[in-house]
């Protein structure tokens, strides 16, 4: 406490610049006067009395200094002085200052930018209260994750009040058609249980959120993006009415931009009375201190009870439950990629630091004489090292300031150009307080880091024997540390090149991958169907055929398919069973899962998915809803081995159950006959992953009343047919909206490959910058080295050495270090290789890639060394010798 008070007083004195020197002087003067008087009284002569008094008082200057150092904080004072001196020095040598500051600005800017991405995606992606504790309960069977726990509104209350659960919410989706914009379109709506907004803990931008009291009311809360695109987003929107599937909903609130729950456009209450038996997905937050296992154990007990009461069957014994943290499914791989990106940019930062360190060592060694003189005049080693450090920290802080500016620009650029799917919808990319704090920390930290070596060098050089300017011994230490730095720089640059190489290669692999279908020049759009439209099954199937035929006859359209299948992935996973006569009864209970794709007779040929054996779907199959199916090769091999699967039966789930508005096809059955085997289709974002098992069924077996997808294969640019397609569809049915037209190529590159594309782009930029920085580093080292030896070269030339010989000597002086760096880098890459492939799920670093990378490194190094070496070779002997 006392020490603190004292510190505060001293700090205050330091800040207000109090100098108590006058007070001390007066006090000491009085002291002398008292002592002199006393000495006189004791019988001394006045002069002698004063002399004795002065002797007794002690060395005045030392006392004053001591007094002063007690009075304020000498450390701070020196710091201020060091910084002032550093500013002057930087101003004196602008070329050094600009190079160093720009290098640091670049390093810190890039790091801050990636940190802001890291922050937005990894640290704080969701605005929801306590988001890291929100979990979903997943069902896991033998084949892995089967789905998520969903309960009806009655059982929900039981779950909510379970002992391990702090709170829970239910959410479901629908995509009703709205005419807010003047034309029909379908939007994504999240239906939320009454307590959901409280659970998520986000307050509205305007108006209010939905509460438990609104459960049966027609109220809607708008999402920010939808509000922006369809209304003026101001409080006047409250009270307006929105038409959703011909029902009027009154707007009661608007959510802020980051509230993008499941990317819904708007939020309505999940009403209880529509169908109390319908199950809705569940999110919950466990009580504090409850472990994941305790939670899932209790949930399993509850689910067993629910299944037994509601469906009268036992839950299969092998099913168990796991808790899945919210956001984990969506963001896991992205997070890994961003961590990798962060690692890459940190390497870049270290390289930048090394570079400035090299520059600074050159500078401090030139100031060697100055340091020795200062040391001789009483400056301690620490003070001298502090001065060099101050210069380094000042450089890095200037660089940091500039770097934050660069990060602002970078964030603005990325925000407009990053694909939406790169970040979670809720994540907000910005340079926020944390990013600024990070940048500050990095600036000061890097300053200390790269100032350390030059600072130690400066302090060490004080022990050199003489106060002369020309001797060799002092530079050896500097040269050694410079060489260490340049070697590590080369090694790190090589590692970065390898990371970039791996990212680019995995991205290229994604592009080149044979996905089993041809995605080029295919337009996809969605046809939302109004509920109740074309009520009978026959009418529904005829509507599809009419639309397809109309679309097929557009000029420029080579083929059209109306289906409910997504070749790019994300199709429906459902359970199927095998008939008991072949595999025994227990097989049904196991319920393996496969991707179900509901297609029409044109789908496979349109996408160039080959039929390997048997036949494809025919128009007749479709019109009669024949219970037939095609399966892909992987599926066939898994189920039937080498035996032909044709003619075998599969049990599919009751496709029409659970939908109030289903239309019964002519032969409702769950048994389908396999009529063909297709080629495999692979997921577009995981080159190494095995193809998923897929079943193709005729869409007419299902005849959804929900929405359909249209795929058009075109001869030219797919978008040129879009307007005609709209027109043609309008002629068939004027009330039919079209939504979300995109080409498959766009879906692939924007949604599925954007992560890898951006990783490739950013690591590419970082590694080329690293190469550039390493080249600059090498350049300055060679320049420094040949500068040191210019006299020697002059002498050699004077004695008759060929200039080419000098060039050779200068060029190869640093070659060993570069080679060493490349060797170390290659070893590091080999060490990292396994990690990159397994943890990051990137394409493994190709060892053959190392050779070109090393070659590039070598060529760049040679070029960087050549420029100063040529300068050395053209040295004028007279000039060089005269400078002695």
């Amino acid at each position: 406490m006392r020490a603190l008070k004292r510190l505060f007083t001293r700090l205050q004195n330091f800040v207000i610049g109090l100098r108590g020197d006058d007070r001390l002087r007066e006090e000491m003067e009085q002291h002398l006067a008292f002592q002199t008087d006393e000495n006189v009284r004791a019988g001394m002569l006045p002069e002698e009395a004063r002399r004795q008094a002065i002797l007794k008082l002690g060395p005045v200057q030392v006392i004053r200094e001591h007094y002063h150092s007690q009075e304020t904080l000498p450390i701070l004072e020196n710091l201020v002085r060091d910084f002032r001196y550093a500013v002057r020095r930087l101003l004196n040598s602008p070329s050094f200052a600009i190079t160093a500051i720009l290098t640091m600005a670049f390093g810190i800017g890039a790091t801050s930018l990636v940190f802001s991405i890291f922050y937005a995606v990894v640290v704080d992606p969701y605005p929801y209260r306590d988001a890291e504790h929100i979990v979903q309960i997943g069902f896991v069977g033998k084949q892995g994750l089967r789905g998520f726990m969903a309960v009806n509104t009655v059982d929900f209350e039981t779950v909510r009040h379970a002992s391990t659960v702090a709170d829970a919410m239910q959410t479901d989706f629908s995509d009703p058609i709205t005419t807010v914009a003047g034309y029909p379109e379908d939007i994504e709506i999240a239906r939320l249980s009454g307590n959901a907004f409280k659970f998520l803990g986000v307050s509205p931008l305007f108006g209010r959120t939905l509460t438990a009291a609104d459960e049966d009311q027609h109220f809607v809360v708008l999402g920010y993006r939808f509000c922006r695109s369809h209304f003026q987003c101001d409080p006047t929107v409250l009270g307006r009415s929105v038409d959703l599937d011909h029902q009027q909903f009154s707007v009661v609130g608007v959510m802020p931009p980051r509230f993008a729950w499941e990317e819904a456009a708007a939020f309505v209450p999940l009403s209880r009375d529509a169908n109390p038996e319908e199950a809705h997905p569940l999110f919950l937050r466990p009580r504090k201190g409850v472990s994941a296992i305790e939670l899932s154990t209790q949930m399993l007990t509850l689910v067993r009870g629910f299944v037994l009461t509601n469906e009268g069957v036992e839950l299969p014994a092998e099913i168990h439950l796991v808790t899945m943290p919210f956001g984990q499914l969506r963001g896991d791989l992205t997070q890994k990629r961003i961590v990798l990106l962060f690692a890459a940019v940190c390497i870049l930062l270290v390289i930048a630091c090394t570079n400035v360190s090299i520059l600074l060592i050159g500078r401090t060694s030139a100031r060697h004489q100055e340091f020795q003189i200062r040391h001789a005049l009483g400056a301690s080693r620490r003070r001298i090292a502090h001065q060099v450090l101050a210069e380094a920290v000042l450089t890095s802080c200037c660089g940091g300031l500039l770097g934050v500016g660069l990060a602002y620009i970078g964030v603005a650029v990325l925000r407009s150009s990053l694909d939406k799917s790169f970040l979670p919808a809720e994540a907000f990319l910005s340079v926020n307080v944390w990013v600024l704090a990070f940048s500050t920390l990095v600036s000061v930290g890097t300053g200390l880091l790269f100032g350390l070596m030059p600072g130690l060098q400066a302090a060490k050089s004080l022990f050199a024997p003489r106060l002369t300017s020309q001797f060799v011994s002092r530079s050896i230490g500097n040269r050694r540390s410079q060489r260490t730095l340049i070697g590590s720089q080369v090694a790190l640059a090589l590692v970065l090149l390898a990371i970039a190489g791996a990212s680019v290669r995995s991205f290229i692999a994604l592009y080149k991958m044979d996905m089993g279908y041809n995605p080029h020049r295919v337009l996809e759009f969605r046809l939302p169907l109004s509920t109740g439209q074309n009520a009978s099954w026959t009418a529904r199937v005829q509507y599809r055929t009419r639309l397809r035929e109309a679309l097929r006859h557009i000029s420029g359209v080579m083929d059209a398919s109306i289906d409910e299948a997504m070749p790019t992935g994300g199709g429906m996973q459902m359970e199927y069973g095998l008939p008991a006569d072949r595999y025994g009864a227990d097989m049904d209970a196991r319920m393996p899962r496969a991707d179900f794709e509901f297609v029409d007779s044109h789908y496979l040929s349109l996408l160039d998915i080959p039929v390997r054996s048997g036949r494809g779907l025919s128009q007749a199959d479709q019109e009669a809803a024949e219970p037939v199916a095609l399966i892909n090769q992987t599926f066939a091999r898994h189920l039937f081995g080498v035996e032909s699967p044709l003619g075998h039966f599969l049990r599919v789930p009751p496709l029409v159950a659970g939908y109030e508005d289903f239309a019964r096809p002519p032969h409702p059955t769950q048994m389908v006959r396999i009529i063909g085997v297709t080629g495999d289709v692979r997921a577009a974002w995981l080159p190494g992953a095995p193809p998923r098992e897929t079943i193709y069924l005729s869409e007419s077996l299902f005849a959804t009343s929900h929405s359909l997808l249209v795929h058009l294969r075109t001869s030219g640019d797919p978008y040129t047919v879009l307007e005609t397609a709209r027109h043609v569809i309008n002629q068939v049915n004027p009330a039919q909206p079209i939504s979300n037209p995109r080409t498959l190529d766009e879906i692939l590159s924007q949604d599925l490959r954007s992560r890898d594309r951006w990783l490739a782009v950013l690591t590419g930029i970082f590694s080329s910058s690293a190469l550039f920085l390493a080249a600059i580093g090498l350049y300055s080292v060679v320049l420094f080295a040949v500068g040191k030896r210019s006299q020697e070269f002059g002498l050699r030339i004077a004695l008759g050495a060929a200039r080419s010989e000098i060039l050779r000597v200068a060029l190869f002086s640093e070659l060993k270090v570069v080679l060493f760096g490349i060797g170390a880098g290659a070893l590091l890459v080999l060490f990292l290789q396994k990690f990159m492939a397994s943890v990051m799920e990137l394409a493994p670093i190709n060892l053959w890639f190392l050779f070109p990378a090393c070659a590039v490194m070598l060529v760049v190094s040679a070029f960087a060394a050549y420029l100063p070496a040529r300068g050395a070779a053209s040295v004028d002997p007279m000039h060089a010798l005269r400078s002695e």
Partner: protein
């Protein structure tokens, strides 16, 4: 000849406090004189070193100072104890006595006592 000793580091502050406690407000010279007298001239004080110590004590709040007229009508800076100073002195005294008594016991101890 008697050897004069330099003041042990840190004890000067204690002496200053002790002096002020006994004699009330004093100026710097007065304090230096008293310390010399009390320590029986055994202790050599480079008297100037007193002033940084006084400053430190003042910063810690143990003493307060103000200008005032001295006995021979000179202007001098007078130092006086504060409440904090009294507390500090008490604490330091206890510490010091404890240390001294422990050391003293070590000196008194004889080989046979430990047998």
């Amino acid at each position: 000849m008697k050897q004069k000793k330099d003041v042990q580091h840190g004890t000067l502050a204690l002496m200053v406090l002790g002096t002020l406690d006994v004699l009330g407000p004093l100026h710097g010279y007065g304090i230096a004189r008293r310390i010399e007298q009390i320590s029986g001239d055994l202790l050599f004080v480079n008297q100037g070193t007193l002033y940084p110590v006084l400053l430190r004590l003042e910063q810690e709040g143990a003493i307060a100072s103000d200008w005032g007229p001295s006995e021979n009508n000179r202007r001098a800076r007078f130092y006086k104890m504060t409440r904090v100073g009294h507390k500090m002195l008490e604490a330091e005294k206890r510490d010091w006595e404890q240390t001294a008594s422990i050391i003293a016991r070590f000196f008194e101890v004889k080989a046979e006592d430990l047998a």
